[in-house]
């Protein structure tokens, strides 16, 4: 049976890194901002190539029991599995399901996807979920995007920046944002989220 990597590296305490103090962390929770790690997941990048990217997308997602999003910059979600259409020929697929993960790894290990390429990136990405009615304020603090309802509706996904870190930002549901980024940025991103929490709580207090 395929074993998923842990969501966060050994010995990494999310709350410890995140919270400037327990009081601030609780304060952020009370106003509707919770930062947590996403479930342990397998991740892959699928490139559709120059020929018929859609045919490659369809074939591979069908093998995984997933669906291609309706258009570019959209994401389909099935439980803890996400298919994100990031560029003309690029899909980013994550799955917290061990059976799907095993298939993903097998496809990548085979090395050849006719017309395209699939690469297992499970070991180098990690993810955070920001939930709550004010979750967007954490994203807004460092992402340069228009995050209004029209510009960033539920189901949207894009690669962008969070401060200096390249992230894949998605919005699986109204009050849930998900960031995926390189593991080496974990400390930086988490501490930054903590600092943003602190600022939001302080500004709220100051009225």
């Amino acid at each position: 049976m395929y074993k998923l990597l842990p969501a966060l590296p050994d010995g990494f305490d999310l709350n410890d890194t995140l919270a400037v103090s327990a009081a601030i962390h609780d304060g952020a929770k009370s106003i509707g901002i919770v930062v947590s790690a996403v479930a342990p997941s397998a991740r892959m990048v699928l490139r559709g190539g120059r020929g018929e990217p859609m045919a490659v997308f369809k074939k591979v997602t069908a093998e995984l029991g997933l669906e291609v999003p309706p258009k570019m910059l959209r994401q389909t979600v099935k439980g803890g599995e996400h298919v994100s259409w990031l560029g003309p020929d690029e899909l980013y697929i994550t799955s917290d399901n061990e059976a799907t993960a095993a298939k993903m790894v097998a496809i990548c290990a085979a090395g050849v996807v006719t017309g395209g390429a699939a690469v297992d990136v499970s070991h180098r990405f990690c993810g955070l979920e920001i939930t709550g009615k004010r979750a967007v304020e954490i994203i807004m603090a460092q992402a340069p995007l228009d995050l209004t309802e029209e510009a960033f509706p539920v189901g949207k996904v894009t690669r962008t920046l969070f401060s200096k870190v390249e992230i894949i930002l998605s919005r699986p549901s109204a009050n849930l944002y998900r960031m995926e980024f390189g593991r080496s940025f974990l400390n930086y991103v988490t501490e930054l989220c903590g600092a943003i929490e602190r600022d939001i709580v302080a500004i709220d207090k100051a009225g």
Binding site: P88, E90, L145, T160
Partner: protein, 134 residues
């Protein structure tokens, strides 16, 4: 900060997501070995260094990752056109039309005919929707 439209994402995004990749529509010599040093050096390093409208390649590096063409004014930083990689350079007359259209749009904007309700000219895919009368 510039707002740049990506022809692949079909969205206007902040400059920080992009990277300028130099002059566009440079033609790589078909058979480099037939060139003399001066011609090869010119291909490698000779650039037009235009003051005015310049065809450039940009890359949406922190987005879809694609290279594309843009025509930017090197003094005002206005971008009048973007096109997917591989699209030929617009002809001079097409370019003049684009410039004229932008100029009249800018005039309307400065005179207040186009309000701030939408975006500045060139940053709205349907600028007519942002028009309000004074």
């Amino acid at each position: 900060m510039l707002l740049i439209s990506c022809p692949y994402c079909q969205e206007t995004r902040p400059e920080i997501e992009f990277r300028n990749s130099g002059e566009a529509w440079l033609v790589r010599p078909r058979d480099p070995s037939t060139l003399n040093d001066e011609q090869w050096g010119d291909f490698l390093y000779g650039r037009s260094n235009t003051k005015g409208w310049l065809g450039e390649r940009w890359r949406h590096v922190h987005g879809c990752g694609r290279f594309f063409n843009a025509i930017r004014h090197t003094v005002t930083d206005q971008i009048i056109m973007v096109s997917p990689s591989g699209t030929p350079r617009p002809s001079d007359s097409e370019l003049q039309k684009l410039i004229a259209a932008r100029e009249s749009e800018m005039q309307a904007w400065h005179s207040g005919e186009i309000g701030f309700g939408g975006s500045a000219p060139g940053h709205d895919s349907k600028p007519s929707s942002a028009k309000t009368t004074k």
